[in-house]
Amino acid sequence: MIRLEKRPQPSRLWTIVTPLLAVVLTMVVGGIMFALLGKPPLEAIRTIFWDPLFHPQFAGYSRPQLLVKAGPLILIAIGLSIGFKAGIWNIGAEGQYIMGAVTGAAVGLAFYPSDSVLLFPLMVVAGALGGWAWAMIPAVLKTRLGTNEILVSLMLVYVAENILASASSSWLRNPEGMGFPGSRNFKQWPAVFNDELVANTGMHWGVVAAFIAVIAAYVLMARHIQGFNIRLTGEAPRAARFSGVSPARIVILCLGISGALAGMAGLFEVTGPAGQITIDFNSGYGFTAIIVAFLGRLHPVGILLAGLLMALTYIGGELAQLMLGLPGASIQLFQGMLLFFLLATDVFTNYRIRFAKGELA
């Protein structure tokens, strides 16, 4: 008989090993899936994980794209991880991301065609505020009325999607767009275009902000008293209350940070890679960031690596579709496996396997 025995403390070794194990298991099971689809498994795995970095034809383009794709994921996931540490489950980062983009873009477009250097920073602030305000709805409802922030934040995603649709088809619509939906394109407005800071590196302000967020989150969680309070609230809510930590303040703080970061991510995306507000502007970054946060063990450095890994599977997955004709759904399944195996192997962090008979292990 195999028996699971709870460890007195989560294993430090396994905390680091499980993400790697999850990646390996995903490769193995994903490879079997690709083989069943009649595609060469090793080639598919190589295309997903290796080619975006080293393929002679594509890598020059796709390597910088890793940063472009990972930037918003990391920025949002950092914000989410702080709340998750405190046991505050913001599932609606997608909505905060949309509202940040819409608010920031609206503020910018109100000044069109200004070429002031202050405009872009103003838009970043507006984007952060937009996301923050959207996150304050579940926060205030939770602290005042005790509603569940998971449901409220998730439902607000659909509200935000409708606001986005109305923005792109009416009040932010490009007046020169012949009646078609979509705002003006920020790429054609140099004063606010969030371009690559150095050509062909993929580094735009959003990526810079993501790196700053990683460092700031590390300092906050490891060195700052609020970080301690956040962790304490998550791990021992009663103890936190006894030591004078106000649960309401922690809720407001955590949802506020994650909302503001998601909003900024939206603003950097709309003024940079996406270029304009469109009906389908949001492409799921807010939801994928939840996977990134857990894959990175809610640790800032882990999230940085997890964001890059996730971006790699996106870009590699596209190459695999293109070069091997893999169906798009199989790539999504492959990404889903990553989270599945991570959660499955997580058991080993908290439990030890015991073989009851003979006690050989």
Binding site: Q57, F58, Y61, S62, Q65, V68, K69, N162, A165, S166, S169, S170, W171, M178, G179, F180, P181, G182, N185, K187, E269, G272, P273, A274, G275, Q276, T278, I279, D280, F281, S283, G284, I315, E318, L319, Q321, L322, M323, G325, P327, G328, A329, Q332
Partner: protein, 357 residues
């Protein structure tokens, strides 16, 4: 002899040194879809047309496809990777790919692009779209003729010119059949969502509507109409499974002839950028067989209308037509020009609803 070898090796050298686009033996044709290729709607039709095109040419071409590509930054990356992989011609099959297509095309002047339903073109970017409003004239006429309650409904996706044209065209021709007809419009903010479409159909039925025209792609409205004993039309596909009732006819997207035509042009080296807007006459818009209890005279009129539109004898937007506010738009006998139609953002007189803002 020596000169010939020299030339041959020079040519080989050129081929090797040239852009990857020229290194292939056969033209490589790419397709990018916004939804999964089995969505039962827009993307599936483009995919099926692409497969027909591939069957037509067999090994003379290579085809690559990418599905579920979000519009915006992701599209730009996917298109760039496709161009880098040596594609010669890339079809971008959704409106939201317009700016990404133009941006990527500027970086790859040797790769040709075809963008569906947009309005921007470039030296190496064509725009192509279908005059669905021609088909909507016929389904609108049938709807007007078949309603007993004098109330017909229209399920709209997004208030963009394409859909507004469809609403206006349907309504004008429903009125031709039945001057007392009223039309209710419901907006869903989606192109494909069976549950929402079914709810909208039910809501229209509850208002007393008995014929529903849908601008969304699923068969859900027809299955609701079937239970209620009301009528509807096939959208994007023939949806003949619902004939003879509740499906009275259909508007069918026929992209394959265009794809075959354009790929042939690439093979022949005659491809040139254009802005193409094709209708019933060119075969891009198909009208499904008229079924159900449609009276013979109505059927004959509808078929005559189809023939006249195809031959160019009749334009669905022929004056006198007033705008919703009563101001004159087209004078007696005047025909709408493509520019106004392309950006249409107003209802015609008689529609009571407002375009959502």
């Amino acid at each position: 002899m020596k000169r010939r070898t020299l030339l041959a090796s020079a040519a080989l050298g050129l081929a090797l040194a040239g852009a990857p686009a020229f290194a292939q033996d056969v033209p490589k044709i790419g397709f990018v879809y916004v939804g999964p290729v089995n969505d039962g709607g827009w993307s599936q039709h483009h995919h099926e047309a692409a497969v027909k095109m591939k069957e037509h040419f067999g090994d003379a071409i290579e085809m690559i496809e990418q599905e579920s590509v979000p519009e915006g930054a992701d599209a730009e990356r996917v298109l760039t990777q496709m161009a880098l992989s040596g594609a010669d011609l890339i079809f971008t099959t959704s409106f939201g790919y317009m700016d990404p297509t133009i941006n990527v095309a500027a970086k790859f002047p040797d790769v040709k692009f075809e963008h569906a339903t947009g309005y921007k073109t470039a030296e190496n970017v064509s725009a192509y779209s279908a005059r669905f409003y021609e088909g909507r004239a016929i389904t609108g006429y049938l709807a007007g003729a078949m309603t007993k309650s004098n109330k017909i409904g229209y399920i709209g996706s997004f208030p963009i010119p394409e859909v507004i044209r469809g609403i206006n065209s349907s309504f004008l021709h429903a009125k031709k059949a039945n001057p007392d007809v009223e039309m209710s419009v419901v907006w869903l903010s989606t192109w494909f969502d069976p549950a929402k479409e079914a709810d909208a159909t039910q809501a229209l039925l509850d208002q007393g509507v008995d014929v529903v025209l849908a601008h969304t792609d699923s068969t859900a409205p027809l299955s609701v109409l079937e239970k209620a004993g009301a009528y509807g039309f096939g959208q994007a596909a023939d949806m003949y499974d619902y004939a003879p009732e509740p499906r009275l006819s259909s508007i069918i997207d026929e992209w394959a002839p265009y794809y075959i035509d354009r790929v042939q042009a690439v093979i022949d080296g005659t491809w040139e950028s254009h802005n193409s807007w094709q209708g019933i006459g060119d075969g891009m818009v198909g009208i499904g067989e008229i079924t159900g209890p449609v009276p013979e005279d109505v059927k004959a009129t509808a078929e005559q209308m189809k023939a006249d539109i195809a031959s160019g004898a009749y334009h669905p937007f022929t004056g006198p037509i007033n705008k919703q506010d009563g101001s004159a738009w087209l004078a007696e006998g005047e025909v709408a020009d493509d520019g106004v139609l392309a950006g249409m953002d107003f209802y015609v007189e008689g529609l009571t609803a407002e375009i959502p803002n």
